[in-house]
């Protein structure tokens, strides 16, 4: 019974909770029962005492019940009280704060008995809930007896809803013997004039047919009568039952279909059934195509003109699935499906495109008429519809459209459910057979899908391993990571295995005690199937000291393992290629540090090569770490000291101009370096000696110290030029700079790629550039803002209020201030809940000179659109707190 209670739980949002008391109370009940009419008041009192003071609000019908109870308590004290306690439990059913943990195990039997007592009530709403619970509990036959007589009485009630519900409950819990007892009532109910009662009996008949077919089959006459009912749903239920009774009798089904297709079915659902039964008859009668006419086809075709969409669709679908359907038979069905394709309802579009997709597998020509409507579905918001449309087009379209469709599919392959990925793969399979010439591009598509997912995974793994190598040895118990890392050597591909070997070596170098164990593992890796993995293992064994003893690791070795590799890989590769084996060893210091742009022809060759082990640093670096490494590798900038912050790239040209230029501002303590990233988008031009002329007349405190031109800028191969300025030390100096790009243009012959000897000097106006206060603040978060705020103290606090004027929304105002200050939002306070009238946003950052800054912003709506803001700043330095206010005041 407890298991059955589980079913009951499934019914509800949370879980039904029956807070039944202990056996002690049950004994009391027994006592009560024997005395039957005594001490009502005592129990009533107990009930009131028991009810929780903060009882949750109940649904209307149950509230009403409370009054009824008090009346009835007079009539039957025991029952009244019992109902009270059940009802008290029932309150919990509607508790909006239902909590699964409060769910206690209760004997469902007890609940069952308790619930059945509610039969006493006259309230129909309550009675209905009782029916529901009895059905969910599905009591055993022993217990069924208790409610049978009440239910049978309800079945004869004058209240139709009682009768309908009682029939459904009784048939659900009944067994064969009981069924014979009530059979007479059920037969009557089937032809009852009330449709709800008739439907209840018919649907119950459908369920009972599974368990007691011989009894239900005796109801044929009544069911047949009900098929003619004026109520659509009764007709539907009767037809379903009649067909199930006769389904093994082919002739009977055929007769049924013959008589009904003449047109007495009104209900759309019943009509759908009839269409299904008709198709069954067509299938079983075989193809009677001698006369050219399929029996009943006319009926199916006439259903295409039905007023109900579900009937039209059912008929169209069945026609498309007829055995050996001819194109003449298909055409009207395809026509209605085509109309559905442009419906505003997603369900209709989906149903139609899914059916047409299936038709296209066997009869692609029949679907070509829908191609235009199908094309417009490619951009359908519903991805399922879009995918089905594309794969249908792949089947029906010609060879020339394949490439375009493949491109569109690639765009959302990652968005769609696996079911649809299978649809796509199947469509591609059939395309391969249809267009052998396209075989190669289709296979490329498939292998790309596979490789991309694989690559993503490998990249992630190597990143994780790298991180573990740097941070793992610093933890309190580094040895516990070893096993996980070494597992990668067994389980992963060569790239990940090689990364794992490097990570192991880092542990060996950093933690001396682990060295012997690492050596054992590295020795095993020497037998790896991949040469890179073997090479790394051998290299690390030698660098770590060879004999595996616990010795201190050299500083040089640590630098080699942990230091950043500041030689650009491209340059190193070129130098190694040019190196002739000789007495003189290869000198890594002779390799140029400056990143040269790769000539076009070479670049193409380079991209064709598979990416080697590790992550190569082709292309301009973008993250803070790599910016720093790049700047350090340029001797002129290395002496500027530590890089404080690099801004996000700021575009200095409109999109799609001849030359695309953006700038990254690198802030040092005493200097600012502008890194101009330039791209030449004209294939017929080669630019040389590219330089940016900066006019700093509106940035008085900055003085230009150096400009580093870009030697050559070929088509579509980005390059960088730099301009450096000196500025007052440690101050957040701001200013505005205007820029002109100057260069020498050389014509390029597109066929040979050769540039002409002589060039023409030219210049190109770029947008202005500003260094703002936000450039001097680093986004650095704190884990606990409140703590940090308290710790910082109010010594250097500055508080002021600002009116921000009319704003689009509170969220927009918050965003603007965050961007202005360039600080890190903490604890998710950058998100403004919709419709809020006020908001507090917490920011943290580091100001130039390594001064920690915390900001608390309180926003409020002042009037319909006006936003007011209170800004509280705490930092380690008053002048910095003032500077933050200055940013806001001038922004």
């Amino acid at each position: 019974m407890i298991a059955k209670l589980g079913n009951l739980c499934g019914l509800n949002a949370g879980f039904f909770v029956f807070r039944r008391n202990s056996e002690e109370e049950e004994e009391e009940e027994e006592e009560e029962e024997s005395r039957c009419s005594s001490s009502t008041t005592r129990r009533q009192g107990k009930y009131l005492e028991d009810s929780p003071p903060s009882a949750p609000p109940m649904a209307q019908p149950l509230v009403k019940k409370d009054d009824d109870h008090d009346d009835e308590a007079e009539y039957s004290p025991f029952m009244g009280i019992e109902k009270g306690s059940v009802l008290q439990e029932a309150r919990v059913f509607n508790d909006p704060q239902l909590d699964a943990r409060r769910c206690s195990q209760v004997e469902a039997t007890e609940v069952f008995f308790a619930v059945t007592k509610l039969f006493q009530s006259r309230d129909l709403g309550l009675r209905r809930m009782v029916y529901l619970i009895i059905k969910e509990l599905s009591p055993s036959s022993d217990e069924v007896i208790i409610v049978t007589s009440s239910l049978m009485k309800d079945m004869n009630s004058k209240t139709d809803m009682y009768r309908a519900n009682a029939i459904r409950v009784l048939c659900r819990i009944t067994d064969g013997t009981l069924l014979t007892q009530i059979e007479r009532y059920l037969k009557q109910a089937i032809v009852d004039k009330n449709p709800v009662v008739a439907s209840a009996a018919l649907v119950s008949g459908i369920h009972l047919l599974q368990t007691n077919p011989e009894i239900v089959k005796r109801w044929s006459n009544e069911v047949q009568e009900a098929v003619q009912s004026r109520s659509p749903l009764v007709q539907f239920h009767a037809l379903a039952l009649l067909h199930q009774i006769r389904q093994n009798d082919r002739l009977a089904v055929s007769k049924l279909v013959t008589s009904l297709t003449r047109g007495s079915v009104r209900s759309p659902l019943a009509q759908c059934l009839l269409i299904r039964y008709t198709s069954q008859v067509i299938r079983e009668s075989g193809n009677n195509t001698q006369s050219g006419d399929r029996p009943f086809y006319d009926f199916l075709e006439s259903c295409l003109r039905h007023k109900s969409e579900m009937v039209i669709f059912e008929a169209a679908r069945e026609i498309t699935e007829l055995n050996g359907v001819t194109s003449r038979e298909l055409t009207p069905a395809i026509t209605v499906l085509q109309l559905f394709l442009s419906s505003s309802k997603p369900v209709l579009r989906f149903a139609a495109v899914r059916t047409l997709n299936k038709v296209a597998m066997k009869h692609p020509m029949a679907v070509t008429n829908c191609n235009i409507d199908m094309e417009s579905l490619i951009s359908d918001q519903n991805r399922s519809i879009a995918t089905l449309a594309i794969t249908t087009l792949l089947k029906t379209g010609n060879e020339s459209s394949v490439d375009r469709l493949m491109k569109q599919i690639t765009n959302f392959m990652s968005d769609i459910a696996d079911e649809f990925k299978i649809v796509v793969v199947e469509a591609i399979r059939s395309l391969c057979l249809k267009f052998p010439l396209k075989y190669r591009s289709l296979m490329n598509f498939l292998s790309n899908i596979l490789r991309e997912e694989d690559c993503e995974f490998t990249y992630l793994s190597t990143q994780i391993l790298h991180f573990l190598g740097v941070e793992g040895p610093k933890t309190s118990d580094p040895s516990k990571y070893i096993r996980y890392i070494y597992n990668r050597v067994h389980l992963e591909n060569a790239t990940v295995r090689a990364s794992a070997v490097s990570t192991l070596a880092k542990f060996g170098a950093a933690v001396d005690e682990l060295k012997p164990r690492i050596f054992v593992l590295l020795r095993r890796c020497v037998f790896d199937s991949d040469d890179e993995v073997r090479d790394r293992a051998t290299l690390y064994q030698n660098t770590l000291g060879g004999d595996g003893s616990v010795v201190e690791t050299d500083k040089d070795v640590k630098d080699f393992l942990f230091g950043s590799f500041d030689v650009p890989l491209v340059n190193l590769e070129t130098s190694l290629k040019n190196y002739e084996p000789s007495e003189e060893p290869f000198d890594i210091n002779a390799v140029p540090r400056e990143v040269k742009s790769v000539p076009l022809a070479d670049k193409k060759a380079a991209t064709k090569k598979p990416t080697g082990l590790g992550v190569s640093s082709n292309g301009p670096p973008s993250t803070a770490d790599s910016y720093e490494r790049m700047l350090l590798s340029i001797p002129e900038f290395a002496k500027f000291g530590k890089l404080f912050k690099s801004s996000a790239p700021v575009e200095l040209t409109e999109a799609e101009t001849e030359y695309a230029v953006n700038v990254v501002k690198h802030i040092f303590d005493k200097h600012v370096v502008f890194q101009y990233n330039c791209t030449n988008t004209i294939p017929e031009q080669l630019l040389e000696d590219v330089i940016v002329i900066v006019d700093a007349s509106e940035a008085e405190e900055f003085s230009e110290v150096l400009s580093k031109p870009l030697r050559s800028l070929p088509y579509d191969s980005p390059g960088q030029t730099f301009v450096a300025f000196e500025k007052p030390e440690g101050l957040a100096t701001v200013g505005k700079f205007s820029n002109i790009l100057k260069f020498i243009v050389k014509e390029v012959d597109p066929s040979t790629g050769e540039a002409e000897e002589d060039g023409v000097e030219d210049e190109y106006q770029l947008e202005d550039l500003e260094v703002v206060a936000g450039d001097y603040i680093l986004k650095v978060g704190v884990s606990n803002f409140r703590n940090a705020w308290e710790t910082m103290g109010a010594d250097c606090e500055r508080v002021d209020e600002y009116g921000l004027g009319p704003r689009e929304s509170l969220a927009e105002a918050v965003n603007t201030v965050i961007n202005l200050l360039g600080m890190q939002p903490c604890e998710g306070t950058e998100v403004v809940p919709p419709n809020s009238r006020s908001h507090t946003c917490l920011l943290s950052g580091v100001y130039i000179g390594n001064v920690k800054v915390l900001v608390r912003l309180s926003f409020g709506l002042d009037g319909p659109k006006d936003v007011a803001m209170k800004l509280a700043v705490r930092s380690e330095d008053e002048s910095v707190s003032d500077a933050i206010h200055e940013i806001v005041a001038s922004g």
Binding site: G10, A13, A59, I146, V203, F313, P346, L348, A417, E419
Partner: protein
């Protein structure tokens, strides 16, 4: 090719909140036997549909060989599940009936709070739409009427004697079981 001579069958009807938690659910198929299987199905369906906009028209998708028709209003998510060879439009008529009936029963205040406070009506509503997978009624106003017709014939008398007799039988039965 699938030949569906069977009746249209509904596998389940779900009413979830905006976090995918149950408000009321009813399963008619034994495809999901345990409560945890049901919960994980609900979580799966919710996560696959939550980002779509099913607020003006009912939306549809195919997940694990089931067709799911769904519609969102306020913080309530309505779902009807059927097998993948079912007529999509029939399934959608069930969803529409459920949705219309709930709207009427909650007097146009279709949100989670109102639904929980009238959970008894929602549960009765589910019971009046589908019985054991078989569609009972798809017309929203009729479903709502069946749920709320509490007071029709309210003054028809109940013969209390019969019920007292029923209780006598019950008690006798109980006593016999206890004495065993």
């Amino acid at each position: 090719m699938a030949h569906h001579v069977s009746c249209p069958a509904i596998k389940n009807i779900l009413l979830l909140d905006s976090e995918g938690k149950r408000v009321a659910v009813k399963y008619f198929s034994d495809e999901w036997q345990t409560n945890s299987a049901k919960l994980s199905f609900e979580k799966f369906v919710f996560s696959k549909t939550v980002k779509t906009n099913a607020r003006t028209e009912a939306e549809i998708t195919l997940l694990e060989n089931n067709i799911i028709i769904y519609k969102f209003v306020q913080d309530l998510h309505f779902f009807v599940t059927g097998s993948d060879d079912e007529n999509e439009i029939i399934l959608s008529s069930v969803l529409q009936g459920f949705f219309d009936a709930v709207t009427l029963l909650l007097r146009n205040n279709v949100d989670k709070r109102e639904a929980l406070e009238n959970l008894d009506l929602i549960l009765l509503c589910l019971d009046e739409i589908v019985d054991g997978g078989m569609i009972l009624e798809t017309n929203g106003p009729l479903i709502a009427e069946k749920v709320t017709s509490h007071n029709m014939d309210s003054d028809s008398p109940l013969s209390e004697q019969t019920l007292t007799q029923a209780w006598a039988t019950a008690r006798e039965h109980l006593t016999r079981t206890l004495l065993k």
